[in-house]
């Protein structure tokens, strides 16, 4: 059976069109499937924040992104032949100067019940594997982990993208960049994200940056060791040396693990 797909691409800046894959629609003559960044198929829910964060868009952009996701969902769930009804709508996108395109096409010969597998496979390779998208997913998982541990970004002193200027000493000035900084009267904690699925040189750079940041934070008495956290996704086991170095200087939390929030809560309580 012939299956076809179109990649859904987002154009972050229409003045300099450099599309980034964010989803796909795959179909056969009988069925259609949608995969989209932030879309949970099981619960039929859409987390628009991942898409917004991936492209550094402000919060008020979320409603428009949500409209677009629902637009693609409407197309994918229409009755009738997708090739006849859906494709013409997708092809209008580029000509109308919209922020999404869907012109990149592919085909595959699949078995009768393999459309989901094809959609998942292409989505994983063409969308989720992109560094920008992978990092956005990791960041979102970290936010969920923080929330599950009782920390809500932007509330109760949990500052996002915190740039902290430390007092000048004989060692000079220091500007610390933390992904999140918990700054309460008697409670402080710093968080950095490290993506261990990035290319090796990038992982090394992330680790060095995190170690350096927390070293400065500790030496300038901004944070203690037990107040330094590295939030990460899968792949740490591929880097035993980094694991050891980071483990000595910080608390490592794998945000995708089921007990991540409990571990974080416990570590914060001790700190």
């Amino acid at each position: 059976m012939l299956a076809s797909y179109r990649l859904i691409q987002f154009i972050p800046d229409r003045a300099f069109p450099a599309p980034v894959n964010v989803g796909l629609i795959a179909w056969t003559s009988k069925e259609t499937r949608l995969r989209f960044l932030g879309f949970e198929i099981g619960s039929n829910s859409f987390d628009v924040a991942i898409l917004r964060r991936a492209f550094g868009l402000p919060d008020p952009a979320e409603p428009v992104l949500l409209e677009w996701f629902r637009w693609f969902q409407d197309i994918a769930t229409r009755r009738g032949s997708f090739a006849e009804i859906g494709i013409p709508l997708l092809e209008q996108l580029e000509s109308r100067d919209y922020p999404f395109w869907a012109n990149q096409a592919g085909e595959a010969d699949i078995g009768a019940k393999e459309l989901d597998a094809l959609a998942d496979d292409v989505f994983r390779r063409a969308v989720l594997a992109l560094p920008l998208i992978r990092f956005a997913n990791l960041e979102q998982a970290a936010i969920k982990c923080l929330a599950a541990a009782g920390l809500v970004v932007g509330q109760d002193g949990l500052i996002e993208d915190a740039e902290i200027s430390l007092p000048k000493t004989s060692a000079g000035r220091a500007l610390l960049s933390l992904t999140w900084f918990l700054d309460r009267a008697k409670e402080k904690a710093g968080f950095r994200i490290v993506d261990f699925e990035a290319i090796e040189s990038a992982v090394g750079q992330h680790v060095a940056d995190a170690l350096n940041t927390f070293e400065v934070a500790r030496s300038r008495e901004l944070l203690r060791r037990d107040q330094c956290f590295v939030l990460h996704g899968p792949g740490l086991s591929d880097y035993p040396l980094y694991s050891e170095l980071l483990g000595d200087a910080t608390t490592l939390i794998e945000v995708s693990s089921p007990d991540a929030a409990n571990r974080l809560r416990a570590a914060l309580a001790i700190a």
């Binding site: 003045a15 868009l57 008020p60 952009a61 979320e62 409603p63 949500l66 409209e67």
Partner: protein, 242 residues
């Protein structure tokens, strides 16, 4: 009516002086040109926008600008934070009517008045976020004077507007619009001052291929048509309201 937001393309320079901190910026716009398929498109767009604003119909704003071929109409692009909204899908029209009953009725009344049967696909509406209200029609290039270049056919069009012919045989909200809401908006159109209609249509000089006589004929046709609008609605209630 809630105000519509438009896309800012670039914030170029902001003044430090002045209480409102005025800034130079560029907005996104869709340009309409006169062409063989739509010889009066620029005039139609401009006058339709004026008429829409006159009756508070939910239509996107636009301005006259000058491009390579002379005056063009720049329809300002509705959206938010550099992101254009998708057009409303056919499958969501019922949802639109539920969320925007009055706005839909206003748009149907407006389209009936200006003889616009090209609403399909020319509509933006925010449906999926409770507190966000965006609803706007755009593209009126083939309303009003229509698109017939031939003087005889052009005269027929004006006559049809004036005589109260339905003209809008297809509309995405036919059969969905609330009859009571529509009656309110039709009454509002009927009550618009004749002078305001003339001011919207008459430019005091020929405008591109639209002569002063055509402008005047259109104004008088619209004045007659707004009075006939309740009758047009009543005569076609089965089609319009369903």
């Amino acid at each position: 009516m809630q105000p519509l937001t438009y896309l800012t393309r670039r914030l170029l320079r902001q003044s430090k002086k002045g209480a409102s901190k005025p800034a130079l910026a560029t907005l996104n716009a869709i340009l309409t040109f006169d062409c063989d398929e739509s010889p009066f498109g620029v005039y139609n767009e401009l006058v339709a926008t004026r008429l829409g604003q006159m009756m508070s119909a939910p239509v996107a704003s636009g301005v006259l600008t000058v491009s390579g071929e002379g005056q063009t109409f720049a329809g300002i692009e509705a959206g938010s934070h550099e992101l254009v909204m998708p057009d409303v899908s056919d499958t969501r029209l019922k949802d639109v009517v539920i969320k925007y009953p009055s706005e839909v009725a206003a748009l149907v009344a407006f389209d009936l008045w200006i003889g616009n049967d090209d609403r399909h696909g020319n509509l933006k509406a925010a449906l999926h976020t409770q507190h966000i209200r965006i609803f706007a029609g755009f593209d009126h290039a083939i309303s009003l004077l229509g698109f017939e270049d031939d003087p005889k056919k052009q005269a027929f069009r004006i006559e049809a507007l004036k005589a109260g012919e339905l003209l809008v045989k297809f509309h995405p909200f036919y059969g969905l619009v609330d009859g009571l809401e529509l009656s309110k908006w039709v009454s509002r159109v009927a009550g618009i001052s004749d002078d305001l209609v003339r001011e919207a249509c008459l430019f005091g000089r020929p405008f591109r291929s639209v002569s002063m006589a055509m402008q005047s004929d259109l104004a008088e046709a619209l004045i007659a048509r707004k009075r006939l609008l309740p009758g047009i609605m009543a005569a076609n209630a089965a089609l319009i309201v369903g």
